[in-house]
Structure formats: structure tokens, C-alpha cells
């Protein structure tokens, strides 16, 4: 069995409207984030992955299983949609239980799995209340619980952090990490870029239905040649360090940090800079830290998709 989620030359058109075009992906285990502006094709990609829509062209395989085989596919795939929709009158427990029964789980197993899922999202006390009385964050959590309830290996979550307060967000992120640590595939779409940056093992950047970049964010950043790498150097004598850096040909720009305790270097050859750090640190310059300043999702997003579309 293939251990990846594979898209081979996949396109989806809704009549004349482009969903996604010529997508080639091989998604490994871990947390993968889909990032892109509204209408970029994130939900379409998730719907394709879960077999909810058929590709107009190309082939999709989820861990070796075709997406047009729902009986097998949904044994190991869980999906939480971004829509805030629940059947009327159900309690949180009934919501999860009924969908497990719909998946074919016998009564006792469904009850046990529903309770476990509710515990995982920390909703035990609210489980017997109707969903109509839930806050937005609670609804989001119960929806996550239904996606996780049958213990799927592939969890596809459309905007799972929307509407959650900071505490609930950190709990959910811990949950995603725990799933990923077990060898599961957690596919997330999110607009909250700094959280994507923190939680993702790899990202897929989408724009207008095309994948503009994929992989680990640092690798993606290294591929972007037209934008010099930015490095923040914290040191005791930034002006002296800047003077020394200007002697090196790999330096494009060096600016003193506004707090006066460091400088921001722009370079087209970060590796040469890192090799030269020891020499730079001589002559009494004490370097406290060196951190890349633009190898996060936000920067890569700005470079590849455009600053006007950035969602912070």
C-alpha cells in the first residue's frame, strides 16, 4: 500500500469555473497545511482528496485507495468541513454517534468511539446539550470530534481553528500534533498564517487553482531566488558588524534593528554568511543569536502570492 496522498495531474472544473488545475502532489505523514487566499482551491483540493468531487482530469490516490471507493476510503479518512451545519435537535453526543452509525459502526462501538472522540476535544460536559446551544468554538470542536471519531489515519480539516479561543486553539493544535506523532496525515487549511507556520511539517501554497509551492517551508524559501534571504543577527555592536558585512560580496543590504541591538542582513547566499560567522564574531563582537527572518509561511506567502492577498 502506498503511504502517501497522491495527486497526479489533477484538474477540476465546475463547468467553466476553475477549481484546481494540473495539481501534482505527494503528501507524506504529518501536518500539511493548505494555504491560499479565498477561491484559491483549498476546499476543492480537500473535496477531491475525500472523494466528494470527482476530478475532471487526473488521478488521486489516498494511501493506495482510489477516492471513488468510499466504502474503503472512509474507513481511514475523516473530514471536517468549514460549514457550520448540524442536523436539527441533536446533542453533541448524538451528532457524533449518528454519523458513526451512518459510517456503518455497530451501536456499542459507535457509542464508545463517540465518547472517546468527545473526550479528545474536551467536550464531555457539553456532550448532552443540543448543538444549537453551543458557542462557535464548541461547534468547531464537536465537528472536529466527528472527523476524528472513527480514528482515521487521514484527517482532512477545513479551517479547523476558526472561531476557537486561544486556549481551545492550543488544545486543538496539540491534538493535531498528537495525531501526526502517531503517523497520521493531518491536512489543514487555514488563514491564520502564524499558526500554520508553527504547526505545519509541510505547506502547500495555492493561488487561483494552482499549487505555487509545496514542501517544508524552509525548503520552499530557499527556492525563492528573486527575494534575498533575510537574517536577523542579535549582537552587542551592530554598527561594527554591519561595516564588516558590507565588505562581503554576498551582502545586499544590512540595516540596524530599530532597538539598536541587532541588524537585519539581506543576502543572496545565506550559506556563505553562516560559514563566515565565526570570523565575523572576532574583534569583540558578541553575537547572541542568528535567526532567519523570512523563512516563515507569511513571508513565503507574500513573496509567492502577493502582499495584497496576505491574511495575517
Amino acid at each position: 500500500m502506498n503511504d502517501r496522498i497522491i495527486f497526479e495531474d489533477v484538474s477540476k472544473f465546475y463547468g467553466e469555473i476553475l477549481g484546481v488545475n494540473r495539481i501534482n502532489l505527494s503528501v507524506p505523514p504529518g501536518i500539511t497545511s493548505l494555504v491560499g487566499p479565498n477561491g484559491s482551491g483549498k476546499t476543492t483540493l480537500m473535496n477531491l482528496m475525500t472523494g466528494l468531487v470527482k476530478p475532471s482530469r487526473g488521478r488521486i490516490e489516498v494511501l493506495g485507495c482510489a477516492t471513488d471507493d468510499p466504502e474503503n476510503l472512509f474507513k481511514f479518512v475523516g473530514y471536517s468541513t468549514q460549514f457550520d451545519a448540524f442536523p436539527k435537535g441533536l446533542t453533541g453526543f448524538e451528532f457524533i454517534y449518528s454519523y458513526l452509525r451512518l459510517s456503518g459502526m455497530p451501536r456499542q462501538d459507535a457509542e464508545r468511539s463517540a465518547r472517546q472522540a468527545i473526550e479528545r476535544v474536551n467536550m464531555v460536559e457539553a456532550a448532552s446539550r443540543t448543538i444549537a446551544a453551543y458557542s462557535k468554538g464548541m461547534r468547531q470542536r464537536i465537528r472536529l470530534a466527528q472527523a476524528l471519531a472513527h480514528n482515521p489515519k487521514v484527517v482532512v480539516l477545513d479551517e479547523p481553528l476558526n472561531g476557537l479561543d486561544p486556549l481551545a486553539r492550543s488544545e486543538m493544535i496539540a491534538l493535531f500534533r498528537a495525531s501526526a506523532a502517531q503517523g497520521c496525515y493531518v491536512i489543514i487549511s487555514s488563514h491564520i498564517l502564524h499558526e500554520v507556520d508553527v504547526i505545519s511539517d509541510q505547506v502547500i501554497l495555492l493561488s487561483n487553482g494552482y499549487v505555487v509551492a509545496e514542501g517544508q517551508i524552509q525548503s520552499v524559501r530557499e527556492e525563492i531566488q528573486e527575494h534575498p534571504t533575510q537574517i536577523l543577527i542579535r549582537c552587542n555592536r551592530p554598527r561594527e558588524l554591519a561595516a564588516r558585512l558590507f565588505e562581503a560580496e554576498y551582502t545586499i543590504e544590512a540595516s540596524i534593528h530599530k532597538d539598536g541591538r541587532g541588524l537585519l542582513l539581506k543576502t543572496r547566499d545565506a550559506d556563505r554568511f553562516y560559514l563566515a560567522v565565526n570570523q565575523l564574531a572576532m574583534n569583540g563582537i558578541q553575537i547572541e543569536s542568528i535567526t532567519p527572518a523570512d523563512d516563515d509561511v507569511l513571508s513565503v506567502y507574500e513573496y509567492l502570492i502577493g502582499s495584497e492577498e496576505v491574511i495575517r
Partner: protein
């Protein structure tokens, strides 16, 4: 690079048969339906006429009691016409029940974008439609052909084997006539609610299809001096089908065959509309 423990354990228990899963939808929606006191009250009211029919059957076989009331026994005849009238009354009640219960079956799911929740598991669009229509199917069966068959059985037990044998075809007419009516009502209600996604409007549209359809049919017939207007009147078409099934003289108008074809065409159009709308995604243009 993350290091994964690969300690994941999938669910490995038994699964229920695929064919039985649509019943989950049926159970939940039926329970919701009877949370409404009006709905429950109306459902109980639907058994009023079958009870009257039961009394009539009893009276028809109680000559001494009729004599006491000075009612000539010839006045009460339990035959195909009796069961046709039963079907007509219960058919109207079934329609009213559908206007209560039908529009709320699909429109909330569509209005809230909940369909992906159903389809992201081993559950197809056909099973979804089947599950939803089972709610109406079973509910309407309880007020149409099931009491009809019970009445036939009671009449048969009073009238004896020869009457039963001669009139056995009435059971087929009761069941087939009811099922085709249930099918058209369910499909109309679900198609309209899927199309407008608004429960109240869908209910109003269902009433409009029946009543304005009948009015429109009469107008066409009067203006164009034809019977073709009846094709717009679902109630008339159904009555024509029932008349043929219960061997009741239909008089003028369109033939039973034409009515059957028209009813099947209505069902096909509703099914087509339904399958166009019941999808896991919607394109926002």
C-alpha cells in the same frame, strides 16, 4: 524532520450492512418529526376516517343492528368504490401530511451546507435520498395502504372466502395506488425543498403545485377546449390512476395510461432536480 511513532491503530470492528445505513437517517428525522405536537396531533387525526370505515364495515355485517336503526342494509356496500373513497380521503390527508413533514427533510441540510458531512463517509447520494424519502414513505404508508389492507382483512373475515377471493385484487390496488402517490408526494416535496432551500417556501410551493396546478389545468381546458390541461393537475392525474386501479368509471378526461405516463414523467423530473441539487459541493458563481 519530524519523527513519527506510527502507533496509529484503525477501527477494526465489524461494520453494519451497507443497505441498512439509510435507516439511521430515517430514525433521527422521524423522531424530530414527532417532537411537534401539531404534527403528532395531525397524524392521529389521519386515523379518524379509517375508524369510521371500520365502523361502516361492522355495521354492514350487523343486520340486526341496522334493523334497529331502521337503515336498509343495501345502503352500505363494501366494494371497490368503498375502498376507492377510502383511498381518496387518505390520499388528501397524505398530501397534507407531506406539506407538514416533506419540506423540512432536505432544505436545512442544503441551506447549511451540511451535505459534505453525510457524503464524507460510506454513504451515497442515492442512499441519502432513500433515507430521507423513507421518512415520508413509512409515515404515509401508515395512513394509506396499511390501514387499507387492515380494513380489507377485517371485511374479508366478515364476508367470507368467496368475497375475499373475488376482491383480492383490491389489495394490490390499495398498495400500488398508495405507493405511487407516496412516491410522487415525496419526490415533489424533496425536489422543491432542495431547489428553494427554504422550508416554508417549499411547503407553499407544494401547495401551489397542487392547487394552482389544478386551477391552471382548468383554465387551459376552458380556453383551449381540450383535456390536455389535466396534465398540469397532479391530483387529477393521480385520481385517474386510482380510478383505473379500483375499476371505477372515470368518465371523460385523459386516459389512465396517459395519467400513468404523466405521473412517471413528474417523478423522473423531480428525481432529476433532486440529484442535481443533492451534491457535496456547490459552485458559487
Amino acid at each position: 524532520m519530524a519523527v513519527y511513532r506510527r502507533s496509529y491503530r484503525p477501527y477494526s470492528g465489524a461494520l453494519t450492512p451497507e443497505w441498512s445505513r439509510f435507516l439511521v437517517l430515517f430514525r433521527y428525522f422521524r423522531r424530530n418529526l414527532f417532537r411537534s405536537k401539531i404534527q403528532t396531533g395531525f397524524f392521529v387525526l389521519c386515523f379518524f376516517y379509517p375508524i369510521i370505515c371500520l365502523v361502516i364495515i361492522y355495521l354492514a355485517h350487523s343486520a340486526s343492528f341496522l334493523a334497529k336503526l331502521e337503515i336498509p342494509s343495501q345502503l352500505i356496500s363494501i366494494d371497490n368504490m368503498f375502498f376507492f373513497r377510502f383511498m381518496s380521503v387518505q390520499g388528501v390527508l397524505a398530501f397534507l401530511m407531506t406539506t407538514f413533514a416533506g419540506p423540512g427533510l432536505i432544505s436545512p441540510d442544503l441551506a447549511n451546507g451540511a451535505l459534505p458531512l453525510y457524503f464524507c463517509r460510506p454513504f451515497s447520494r442515492a442512499e441519502y435520498v432513500l433515507g430521507k424519502s423513507a421518512v415520508l414513505g413509512i409515515l404515509l404508508s401508515q395512513i394509506t395502504w396499511i390501514p387499507g389492507v387492515v380494513l380489507f382483512a377485517i371485511q374479508a373475515s366478515f364476508a367470507g372466502a368467496s368475497w375475499s377471493w373475488e376482491n383480492l385484487w383490491i389489495i394490490g390496488s390499495l398498495i400500488l395506488g398508495s405507493l405511487i402517490w407516496i412516491a410522487i408526494l415525496s419526490l415533489l416535496a424533496m425536489a422543491l425543498s432542495a431547489w428553494v432551500k427554504w422550508r416554508v417556501v417549499a411547503g407553499a410551493l407544494l401547495l401551489a403545485v397542487m392547487f394552482f396546478g389544478a386551477g391552471f389545468a382548468q383554465a387551459i381546458n376552458a380556453v383551449m377546449r381540450t383535456d390536455a390541461g389535466h396534465f398540469f393537475d397532479v391530483g387529477y392525474l393521480m385520481a385517474a390512476v386510482w380510478m383505473s386501479l379500483f375499476k371505477v368509471d372515470a368518465g371523460r378526461g385523459i386516459s389512465a395510461g396517459e395519467a400513468w405516463v404523466a405521473i412517471l414523467a413528474y417523478c423522473s423530473v423531480c428525481l432529476w432536480l433532486l440529484l442535481r441539487k443533492v451534491r457535496a459541493y456547490e459552485v458559487v458563481r
